[in-house]
Every structure is written in C-alpha cells, then in structure tokens.
C-alpha cells in the first residue's frame, strides 16, 4: 500500500469513526435527519469563515461551521418550541434556508472563495495527501490526517465523559428532565460536536454523503447489538471498514472514493438486513 493510499484510508477511517460515535446517538434519539440538517446548515458558516480569514485555514472553518451548526439547532428549537411549528417542518425550514445562504454566498463571491460547488456537494478525499503540513521537522504529513485525528480524539473524549448523560437523554428525555438534568445543555453540546465532525466530513465526502457516515454504520451496528458500548464499537469498526473497502472499490472502478465508501457502508447494512430477515423466517 502506498503512503498516499494509507493517508486517504486513515483520514476516511478517522472521520467515519467520529461520525459513527455521534451518529449512534442520533439514530437512538431518532434524529437521523437532524444530522442531515446540520450537515447542510454548516455551509454558510464555512463560507463566511472563508471570506473573513481568506484562506483554507482549518481552525476558522471549524469555528464557523460549529457556529452555524449551533445556529441551525437554535433555529429549529425556536421554530418548534416558541413558534410551535411541527418539528420536521422546523428542521426542513432551518437547514434549507441556511444552506441556501451558503450557496448564495459561494456563487456571489466565487472570485474570493476557493470552494467550488462540486467540492461542497461531493467532497474530495483524493486530495488529502496533497495538503501537507510540517511541525518543525517532528512530523510531516497531510493536514487532514492531523485534523481528523484531533477531532476523533475530541469526539471520543466527549462520548466517554458524556456517556451517562447521552444515554439518559436518548432513552427517555422526559425522565432526564424530571431528574433536574438540563437536557438543553446536553442537546446543544451534542449538536456542536455533530457540527464539528460534519465540517470535517464536508471536505472529505461532501454535504450530501455526510448523513450516510453518521447514520449507516450506526444503524447497522444497532441491528447487531443489544447493549450500547458494543453498538458504539461495532459502528466505529464498520465505519473504518467502509473507509478501507471504499478506497479499494474506488480504485478498482476508477470512481469517486466518497461514493464508494458510502456504497460499501450501504452494502454492510443490506447484508445485515438480509441476514436478519432470513433468520427471522427460519425461527
């Protein structure tokens, strides 16, 4: 395996693993489509961060994305709870509106923004090895690898620290509230993490396929397991396997790596469903 291939697979695996951890809780909270919403809603934040900082410096992008992800979460809550619109309508309105602003900004400032709409929609993981960064001779490697590794560690730490809180919130939110737990704080911190992971996945698989990384490995793991920790571990493993499998599938077909990664994740799910149906028929 070439070093380029290794870096591409590693980046994909780290992003898929972070997505799988957070996505598991999205699936359990029945908020899979909220992941989709966030993944689109981060776009204006990214573009504005771009326009202000003037380059593809990742920290400002992460901050911009997290800010607009939280704005989307806030808008959804506002429309749902204060204006008393239905929750699905609130989600549909908030994220498309923010995404529209992002699209408008990109098209209006095409000259200044080094982001094309193709890349926003489909991502480009194949360019990962080209974006090199060096730390005073200690380590030289692609910047996306470093960022996704940092984000994976951050996500893992968040999940470990918040495990009980997320479990309680996901199983029975009303009960959590009745215990005096500030569920809004948990909800917003969780959505901030989803936004952060989303912006990274954005560069790699693009806005449309992020939701697949969040939901598909998590949903597959849900079908195989009876307990939360095994579900999280399996979801992460499936995400990593999809990254590696997707790379070689794309290589074989000479096609899009992002598309192949999600296709492989989908195949895992299809096999799972098929086996479950067969087993149920036998029983």
């Amino acid at each position: 395996m070439s070093i380029e291939a290794f870096y591409i697979i590693l980046t994909g695996a780290l992003v898929a693993a972070s997505s799988a951890l957070l996505g598991s809780f999205l699936v359990l909270r029945r908020m899979a489509m909220l992941g989709d919403a966030i993944s689109h809603a981060v776009l204006p934040g990214i573009v504005i961060a771009f326009l202000i900082s003037g380059h593809r410096e990742s920290l400002s992008l992460l901050i911009g994305a997290a800010a607009s992800g939280l704005l989307a979460t806030f808008l959804i809550e506002l429309l749902h709870r204060k204006a008393r619109l239905q929750e699905d309508a609130s989600i549909g309105i908030s994220f498309t509106w923010l995404f529209a602003i992002g699209v408008l900004l990109i098209s209006a400032y095409t000259g200044q923004v080094d982001l094309d709409q193709e890349c926003v929609l489909y991502g480009e993981i194949a360019y990962v090895p080209l974006d090199q960064i060096s730390f005073g001779g200690l380590w030289t490697g692609p910047r996306p690898v470093l960022i996704s590794a940092t984000l994976f560690v951050l996500t893992l730490a968040y999940i470990i620290i918040s495990f009980k809180g997320l479990k309680l919130l996901s199983f029975n939110e009303d009960h959590a509230k009745s215990l005096g737990i500030r569920t809004q704080v948990w909800h917003f911190s969780f959505m901030a993490m989803v936004s952060l992971v989303t912006v990274l996945a954005f560069e790699i698989v693009g806005a449309i396929l992020i939701v697949a990384l969040l939901v598909v490995p998590a949903a597959t793991a849900f079908l195989w397991t009876r307990s939360l920790v095994p579900m999280l571990i399996l979801a992460v493993a499936l995400g990593i396997a999809a990254s590696a499998g997707g790379y070689y599938l794309a290589l074989g077909l000479n096609g899009s790596i992002a598309g192949a990664m999600v296709s492989v994740a989908g195949i895992f799910l299809a096999i799972t469903v098929l086996l479950k149906v067969l087993v149920r028929k036998k029983a």
């Binding site: 620290i161 009980k164 479990k167 199983f171 509230k177 009745s178 009876r226 307990s227 939360l228 095994p230």
Partner: protein
C-alpha cells in the same frame, strides 16, 4: 419526627388556577386543587380530558398558559430529589440497547453524578428496587426481550430507585398482565403505608374506585377532587363523562356492587333511566 411526618401528611401537591393548551387547543382549564400526602391518588377522567397534560405540567415538562404548581409547598426545582416521575410506557423505545439494570440505574442519575460512576449505595438501591418488583433475575436482559408487564415493572423499579416521597405515574396499569397489576398495586400500597404519596393517571373507571384512596376527576375542567367516596358520585361522573351512557350504566352497577352509600332517594330509579336511555 412526628412533626415532619405531620408536614408530609399535609398538603403535598397543590395546583393553582392551572390552564394549559396543546397546539393552541385548551386541554386544561383553571384547574385548582390541593391533595394531602400519604395516600394513593387517582387522576381520573375520559380520554382527552387532560390527565397526562396535568402530570406533565406538574413535572414542568410543558409550559402552562397560566397558574402554578407547588410540591411540598415549594417550587419543583427545590424538591426534585423528593419527586419521581414515571412517563407512559409507550413513550420510550423499548428496542433501545440497554439492559434492565441500566434502566433502573438511571433512577439514581442526578445532575451532580452524571459524569461519575454510581456509588455502591446507589447500586444497593437499584438491587432493592429490582427485587421489590420481582425483576432481579432479569437484570441483565435487554429491555426489548421483556413483555409489556415486565417493561412496566422496570419503569416502576427505576422510580423506586429514586427513593422519592412523591410518585407521579402515567397509566402504569395499561397493557399489563394480572400478575403485574397485583405486583404494582402491592408496591404502591407499601409506599402509601410508608407515608409516601402516589399520584396515578388512570383511565379505567371500573378499577379506579377499588385502587385509590382519593381522586381528582377531570374533564379539561376540574369536576371534583378529594376522598374517593366524595368524588365518586353519580353527578360528578355524569359531569365528567357526559353522555357516555354505556360507561355510566356499567358504573351504576359498579357503585351498587361496591356498596357505595346511596345518599339520595330515587338513586335506583335514576340509574334505571340511564340504562334505558343507553339502550
């Protein structure tokens, strides 16, 4: 000790001029009552009469349009440790990947220990709660493998683990088997006998009289509240249930059978009329 007990026996739950709406439709209108502690209290009324909404308002789970609630004479936030809430069983996903024990452990979760491990004293309370509802041997099972009755016992155990003084339960008898019904009733009676207060949303009039010491009869407005014999009168039930004569005719039988004192002359005639109209 006695004075503290006395305090508990006094008003535990007060609801003042509470009005609430759902999707701009009024569900509760000017509800106002006080209930003494140390009893089994039923919140009873027909479907859509606002029973669950009342419970959710008491627990601060939705915003009231007006009015307020006091528990033990205080705001809910000051006495949360003393209050345990059990939502309807159907309100959660029973395919969730947790074991019976993990669900009951959640009864010991507090804002203060959410980032730490539970202590062994917490685990003891969890064991005790599981044992009381007869679910100790199922502790490691995933909750999706339970029957409806077992699920309800798990919810009850989670509530017992909270070790509260006031228990608010939403329809704990729905969809459970006879053995579970008995088990739940036994546990609730034990709580009552220990001086605790149990408030239960219950839709089945047939069993309400038999289960509870006191009742709140509801139909968007408050129809009556207090000791069950004072609440369970023909006038009150007619007011709450309106023209649902099939229910009422069954009830008159029930009232007669439970030897409910007939205070007025012509009770039999009236119930006879009800039957006739029902047919």
């Amino acid at each position: 000790m006695k004075s503290e007990n006395q305090l508990d026996k006094d008003t535990v739950l007060e609801v003042h001029n509470l009005s609430a709406s759902y999707n701009r439709k009024p569900v509760l209108w000017d509800i106002d009552f006080r209930l003494k502690g140390g009893q089994l209290i039923g919140i009873v009324g027909p479907n859509g009469s606002g029973k669950t909404t009342l419970l959710r308002n008491i627990m601060g789970l939705m915003e009231a349009d007006s009015g307020y609630v006091r528990l033990f004479g205080q705001d809910l936030n000051k006495v949360r440790q003393r209050v345990s809430y059990v939502p309807q069983r159907e309100s959660v996903d029973w395919n969730f990947p947790v074991s019976v024990r993990e669900v009951v452990e959640m009864g010991r979760y507090r804002p203060s220990n959410l980032m730490r491990r539970l202590q062994s004293s917490d685990q003891d309370l969890v064991d005790l709660a599981l044992e009381k509802v007869g679910m100790l041997e199922y502790a490691t099972r995933q909750i999706s493998q339970l029957s409806g009755g077992q699920q309800q016992r798990v919810f009850l155990a989670r509530s017992l683990a909270q070790n509260a003084d006031l228990y608010l339960m939403d329809e704990p008898f729905v969809g459970v088997d006879a053995a579970t019904e008995d088990a739940i009733l036994r546990v609730l009676s034990e709580l009552r006998d220990a001086g605790k207060t149990v408030v239960i949303v219950h839709h089945d009039l047939q069993t309400a009289y038999q289960y509870f010491d006191a009742m709140v009869l509801l139909n968007t407005r408050l129809v009556a509240y207090g000791a069950k014999d004072d609440v369970f009168t023909r006038e009150n039930l007619q007011e709450a249930y309106g023209g649902r004569l099939t229910v009422l005719s069954k009830l008159s039988e029930l009232i007669a059978r439970s030897e409910f004192p007939v205070r007025e002359k012509g009770f039999k005639e009236k119930s006879g009329e009800g039957d006739a109209a029902g047919k």
